[in-house]
Amino acid sequence: MDITFENVTYIYQQNTPFAHKAINDLSFQIKSGSFVAIIGHTGSGKSTLIQHLNGLAIPTEGKVSIGGYHLTKEEKPKDMKELRSKVGVVFQYPEHQLFEETVAKDIAFGPQNFGVSEAEIKTRIKEITPAVGLDETLLERSPFDLSGGQMRRVAIAGVLAVKPDVLVLDEPTAGLDPRGQKEIMDMFYKLHQEQELTTILVTHSMEDALKYADHVLILNKGTKYMEGSPEEVFSQKEALQRVQLDVPEMVQFLNEFQEKFGTAITFKKQSIKELAEAIQQQIKGAEST
């Protein structure tokens, strides 16, 4: 599903002394099937943006379109529930939302609410459990007996069991150790490709944005600051630093290399091995002159 924001503004507690503009005249487009990273300083409007994607927030001004669903101040989709079955949101620390007696029941809760038949739910649980890296023997256990990493996988399985077309991930790896972070991100990437999802990743990790996203959107003060491929966006160190964002570590290193050696190595998403070879060439190049 294509997603479009057209001049969207969102004001919290409008017409009160506490009115606060979280999103300001924001326009962008996300193509169906793409993997988009949304990055911004704390308070840049990322979370408010996400809430528009499944109608938890309705624009104060402007228009949000998700496939054929349109959200404006005047017009809400008649079937908000249908929209919410198409857009799955994995919120921060989703394991805090677990509540059922067993893992299987917790995963089934979402699809049950959207009217999926019991037989179909069973089939889906069978499919999803291995896809999120959970062992089937855990299905009858209480989710609260599991480790933090496993609990998060259960919560994610619950979102996937609804079979959304759009998957929204709000810092899905926060609080996990490096191995857990990599496993979860690789899992989302695989699902993204296999199920042709449109994936929207809100992250603080420039490294993850670089590794997984094909498009990057940078927010600042509730509006779009930069947009483009990861290579384009992350090459602009100064512009990013103006909004208190870092560049991926490799870009940082390349900048420092250029300052020290006076010669540039272009950033093109190369591997560390390729980078090492380029540096070796530069040093050897100096040798021959």
């Binding site: 990493g149 490096p178 208190q244």
Partner: protein, 279 residues
């Protein structure tokens, strides 16, 4: 001689009488003015250490000594004055109706005079970059902003030991850096031991010493440079190796004669520069 601030003597801990041991026979010492990073995968026991340090949990076996006192149910009230702690989730540690109330709360409990309180509120909020939010209500702050206030609240009571239990995990990179710089400068200025429990490799690189936990046991206790040279074993226990260490390895593989185990970009670039100018 350096003063021992914290000592773990053969400490073991488990939840309940039947549960698996979360900490197994751990012994280590932390000195005054020292920065120790504790790292390990989820479930390795590192957060349990933090909870034992201020008596949220008590060990079944072994002894914990803080500032000369054995931690037990009587001594803990005294010990907590010396041990400030900031947790991962700021929503669980906010008590004040405004930011400045929250920073004042800990000081009020310790009977800090009003004038001193006002001074420290200004100082600590400025130190965490939240000086413009003194009168803001906590629910209007973002997660990162709340965490900065939580850190200010702890700093305001001037503890001897500051423990950050993955306290920067929810902040963005510059927020994280800002906090670490703040904490480092305070540690440099005051007599403060710092324990950072973290996954962030930059934070580990800045520490004086690193304790690596694995499955409830101390796996290694070394300076950061020694830790980072053990790339394969770090990966085996579920930890990440820093970019600069991987790059140094790849450079060696590509035939560049790197002579050090670099901890940061500057060290690696300096080494490369030496090689470069030698030719």
């Amino acid at each position: 001689m350096r003063k021992k601030i914290i000592e773990f003597r053969n400490v073991s801990f488990r939840y309940g009488d039947e549960g698996p041991w979360v900490l197994k026979n751990c012994s280590f010492e932390i000195y005054d003015n020292e920065w120790v990073a504790i790292i390990g995968h989820n479930g390795s026991g590192k957060s349990t250490i933090a909870k034992l340090l201020n008596g949220l949990l008590f060990p079944q076996e072994g002894e914990i000594i803080i500032n000369g006192e054995v931690v037990n149910e009587e001594s803990i009230w005294n010990i907590r004055k010396d041990v400030g702690m900031v947790f991962q989730n700021p929503d669980n540690q906010f008590v004040g109706a405004t930011v400045q109330d929250d920073v004042a709360f800990g000081m009020e409990n310790r009977g800090v005079p009003r004038e001193e309180m006002q001074k420290r509120i200004v100082e600590t909020l400025a130190a965490v970059g939240m000086q413009d939010y003194r009168l803001t209500e906590p629910h209007r702050l973002s997660g990162g902003q709340k965490q900065r206030v939580a850190i200010a609240s702890v700093l305001a009571i001037a503890p001897k030991v500051l423990i950050l239990d993955e306290a920067t995990a929810m902040l963005d990179p510059s927020g994280r850096q800002e906090i670490m710089q703040t904490v480092a400068s305070i540690q440099g200025r005051e007599e403060l031991s710092l324990i950072t429990i973290t996954h962030d490799l930059q934070e580990v690189a800045q520490a004086d010493r690193v304790i690596v936990m694995n499955s409830g046991e101390i796996w290694k206790e070394q300076v950061p440079r020694e830790i980072f040279s053990q790339k394969e074993s770090l990966r085996e226990i579920g930890l990440d190796v820093p970019f600069v260490a991987i790059l140094a390895d790849e450079l060696k593989r590509a035939g560049v004669a790197i002579s050090i185990e670099p901890l940061n970009h500057e060290e690696l670039l300096e080494d490369l520069w030496t090689l470069h100018s030698r030719t």
